[in-house]
């Protein structure tokens, strides 16, 4: 595999994002989430999975990773607003995701355009 030159901040943020994503997965099965509708855990599950894939892309310094991360962030915010999930977690998610996006975009030009 080709050696990837990755800034330390990207490494730290990627590992943090991977841990947060993995910890978010069991939360899908919360009774409060299931009560919102039979398909809500599935939709949120797809968003979390794609966000995980995006972070792996960022870890490998790929532009598609950043694009997918931004896309999933937007979809997640819209979904949460649609489901009226205005909890502390919602605002915390927005906060750290915006920080991540700023850092990722800062290094965007140094990233690889290929898959």
């Amino acid at each position: 595999m080709a050696q990837v030159i990755r800034p330390r901040i990207i490494s730290i943020l990627s590992v943090t994002a991977i841990i947060l994503t993995l910890l978010a997965f069991p939360m899908l099965f919360m009774p409060s989430i299931k009560r919102m509708g039979d398909f809500v855990p599935m939709v949120l599950g797809i968003i979390i999975t794609l966000q995980f894939v995006a972070v792996i892309g960022v870890w490998h310094m790929k532009r598609w990773g950043v694009s997918l991360f931004v896309m999933m962030f937007t979809i997640r915010v819209i979904t949460f607003m649609f489901l009226e999930m205005y909890s502390f977690r919602f605002y915390f998610n927005i906060f750290y995701s915006v920080v991540f996006i700023f850092v990722f975009l800062y290094y965007y030009k140094k990233m690889d355009t290929n898959l």
Partner: protein, 414 residues
């Protein structure tokens, strides 16, 4: 193109599965246990909720019950505040009927466990309920044979009885015709005039199957109507367009006036609604669901690590093959999809086994538990979706690593 990709990935996945049966089985076990844990909890909670909602609905969701004790649970229940309250009595029924304008029907009910007899057949501890005539307008029930008692029978305290299915089967075995026969209820002769439709088990224990309903004025001859043991209550059904909150406000005023309570005195009665029961059960289900979610969620994650591990081994074993494929022109996404599909396939297989185990469990439960437990379509879809997503999460890193391999280095690998 997509078809070729799917076909080749399936062949690779199957080859890997068959070649390493024990390794595959152990890797799938994590996902199987995770899906089994989560979907079993969801299935049981859904079935319990369905059953309880059915029982609550049979009590009526637009009905307010005037009782001594409020319906609430928990360690902070201040029972000492309620224990000296008087129980509702029959003479309050007429007052409530007169004063509460938002009521469509107002009924009174008492009940106690008594022995019922017909010739040589005896049913011990059958629930004998004494209903005022209008309680039949408040409670939901079906009569399959015979009729409900008339108003004059209710007022006059006629010795007539309507039997629940289980009691009828106990007193009249071998499909003997019960209507018109005389039975003994608490030692008193009583004519059977109707049979309730079979309802089955109820989570709240309010099934009509083990109840014998007699007019209140007959029941008071052999029941202590002022005793708490007779569980007396007044049930008030709201008119169409009157909310339970409005009805409760009106009832509070009426009951305080009937019991001549001073303005600053606390209420000495409780106004209970069926949604109070639902709310109490909702919090219980939330705790059970949360425990299941945490245990199952982390089991699935651990299962995912198992799949990720087997995929890393799989990539390592086939590095040489990946190099050949890439040197022959295979694109990165082709290699990525190949391994990703294999991971999803493995995870899905684990999920399907977990769901099959739950299905077998529900079949076993059907014969042994009175409650209906069903694996719903939405839970099956949820289980399969989770399996696929865990497959993607656990397989993406090894698959992406494989797709990024340098063909020359990959071919050289032993």
């Amino acid at each position: 193109m997509v078809f070729t990709l799917l076909k080749e990935s399936t062949v690779f996945a199957l080859q890997a599965l068959i070649a390493n049966k024990l390794r595959t089985f152990l890797s799938l076990l994590g996902i199987t246990i995770g899906i089994f844990a989560i979907i079993t909890v969801f299935t049981i909670v859904d079935s319990l909720e369905r059953n309880i909602r059915g029982s609550v609905q049979s009590l009526g969701d637009n009905v307010v019950f005037v009782m001594k004790w409020p319906w609430s649970f928990g360690p902070d229940y201040p029972w000492w505040k309620y224990m000296n309250r008087p129980v509702p009595v029959y003479k309050e029924l007429g007052e409530v009927q007169r004063k509460v304008k938002g009521a469509e029907a107002v009924g009174f009910r008492i009940g106690a466990r008594k022995t019922l007899k017909h010739l040589n057949n005896t049913v011990e501890n059958g629930i004998v309920s004494g209903w005022s005539y209008d309680y039949g307008k408040v409670k939901t029930f079906d009569i399959v044979e015979g009729r409900y008692f008339r108003e004059d029978e209710a007022e006059g305290g006629y010795n007539v009885v309507i039997l629940g299915n289980a009691l009828a089967e106990g007193l009249f075995p071998n499909n003997e015709y019960a209507i018109g026969k005389t039975i003994k209820v608490a030692g008193r002769s009583c004519k059977v005039i109707g049979l309730f439709k079979k309802e089955g088990e109820s989570m709240l224990g309010n099934t009509m199957d083990n109840q014998a309903v007699v007019p209140y004025n007959f029941a008071r001859l052999f029941m202590d109507v002022k005793s708490e043991n007779s569980d007396p209550f007044i049930a008030v059904k709201a008119k169409v367009g009157v909310s339970n909150a409005q009805l409760k406000d009106e009832l509070t005023g009426a009951m305080r006036s009937i019991r001549s309570l001073k303005p600053l005195a606390d209420d000495n009665f409780a106004l209970n609604e069926t949604n109070l029961l639902s709310k109490n059960f909702d919090s219980l289900f939330d705790i059970v669901g949360l425990a299941g979610a945490i245990i199952g969620g982390f089991s699935i994650l651990v299962g995912g690590f198992g799949i990720a591990n087997i995929m890393f081994v799989s990539v390592r074993e086939r590095t040489n093959l990946i190099g050949i494929q890439k040197s022959l022109g295979a694109k990165n996404y082709f290699i990525l999809a190949q391994f990703l599909f294999e991971a999803v396939f493995l995870s899905l297989l684990g999920g399907i086994i977990g769901l099959l185990l739950i299905y077998l469990l529900t079949l076993l439960a059907q014969g042994n538990i009175d409650m209906e437990i069903t694996l719903t379509r939405s839970n099956v879809i949820l289980g399969l979706t989770i399996s696929v997503l865990i497959g993607i999460i656990s397989g993406f890193i090894p698959a992406y690593g494989a797709s990024q391999l340098d063909p020359v280095e990959a071919i050289r690998t032993n």
